[in-house]
Amino acid sequence: MSKDLVAGALFLIGSIVFYMLAAAFPVSALDTTVSAGAFPKMLAIAGGALSLLLIGSGVWKARAKPAVVADMPLEDEDEDEGGDLDKMRTHKRALGLLLILSAYVALVGSLGYIISVFLLIGAVAVYHGIKPSWQLVLLAALGALAFWGLFVQVLGVRLPSGILPF
């Protein structure tokens, strides 16, 4: 199934849900000629219409493809296709990085900023192919301290201390 069809269908479902939620907004005594739901409803209608066009475009392209000879290299007629993002490896690598960043978000409150950033720098570096070594540990530690110094000492931002006393 073409990406346009999938994207169009998802957008259409989203537009319908968006409209239904906007229609359910409570009426406010402060509402004027235009209620709080008017603009979201307009967007939902416009989004729905465009997604139908995209679905139609996807169907058209899918039906038109057999006109090309089988052994000719297919031109990428849709210049919007994701390129490298079509490869499963790219998705897996992206997902792995998302998991690392999510783990940081989950742990920073309990472990504290310095330890979490230290682990984050180390994990991302190793994930990108840097071999674990004492040099990496030292760089991660220095990086964590540098960021702590920048945000806490220089910018005066309060960051979670976690299990450390500062």
Partner: protein, 499 residues
Amino acid sequence: MEGFELALHTLTHTPAIFAAMAGVAWGIIGGALPGLSASITMALLLPLTYGMQPVVAIILLASTYVGAEYGGSIPAILIRTPGTSGAVTTAIDGFEMHRKGKGGEALGISLACGVVGGLFGMLLLVFMMAPLAQMALLFTAQAHFAIGILGLSLIATLSAGSPLKGLMSAILGLALTTIGLDPLSGVSRFTFGSADLMGGIDPVLVMIGIFAITELFIQASQADWGKTASSTRISLPSLKMWRRIWPGTMIGSGVGGVEGCIPGAGSTLSAFLAYNEARRWSKHPEEFGEGSPEAVAAPEAANNAVASTGLIPTLAFGIPSSASMAVLLGGLILHGLEPGPLLVEKSRGVVYGLFGGLFVANISQLLLGLVLLRPCIWLVNQPRGYLAAGICALVLSGIYAVDQNMFDLVAVLGAGVLGYGLKYFGFPALPLVLGVVLGRIIENNFRRSIDLGYGDPLVFFKDPIAGVLLSLIILVIVSKVVLTGVRYFRTRRASTQAA
């Protein structure tokens, strides 16, 4: 004269000079790293500008753009990998010059011509802003709404790819801005009972998520870039070299100056156009592609001119000419400045202070470009993993620093996932970002207009400026759709005939 006094006051009474130089330095470093674009380099600074005075913050962001356009030429010349999209053409001849042992000369030409282009762009900016500001008094709520929609439509249809997807991306961005408490009626919209969503989605989170986090996800699977010798020394052009490259520099400055005003064009297009025009008018066109100094001078002058003239539609109409200008637009709104026709009227100090800061930025680029070359080469030679780790730490720390709210971290990761999904399905991200930045302004003016017209939807066409702008929108969309359709059918016919 008043503008000059305002600029001088800003430079002498605020840390604007420091901000300009710091911005240029950060921009050069960020632009020199192939993993960072000018817009990402600017977006990374956004959370750090929260506590700054608005004029200082805007100078910092704009100066970062100036520096990044030069910084992108460093890896382009040394390892044939442009650090920013505006340095794509520089990578062709600049790298050839480097291979012939003239890398230092190429870097010097890039730096010097970039400064000339930037100053030329600045002159255009200063002289064009004043008359455009006079138009501001004629703008009604309907015209404000129409120009916001025009800006979105232009970006959506002129961005790479399908105009249909561009418009859908813009609508998605506008939809995101409706989350939260409605400022006019107090109704809670799309919050699902969450206290964190009551304040809406901060545009900064979306920008950083879409630009920086998405790019990190994509680059997680890419190989490391090439390395270069650290012994390269920059050498500024001699008088003899200036005699050769000044026509290309002027051509580049002119092309960039004009292109910068066009929404959706940006530094990439201006660099290509400048390269082509410089070759057309060169006495040695055969050298283009083989290491011609003019082929470095023209695009570098162009992309630095764009950094200044791109501010014209951004400040005057709230229509950014590129992703970097969209980030700057976000910065303006972050600091309570509404971009558009009234910005010069209401915030003269900020606008003229920005001009002063840009002047300092362009001049200081010359010195900082010389000083920072060695550190940039050192950074380019480091493994990508360290860069990725540093950016991840900087992004997540900066986002948390804004409100000390964990939800912001979740939101920025969510925006990164959204950006990745957009990329996968071939939707351009810039219209979404612009929708998020302009959404509140557009909705407020829409509702104000309808109220003024007592519910009559034709109120937009009763205002002459709004009517013209809305007609332009229809013209832009229809012409883009027709052109895309014609191109598609021509391609289909060609492939069918070949079969």
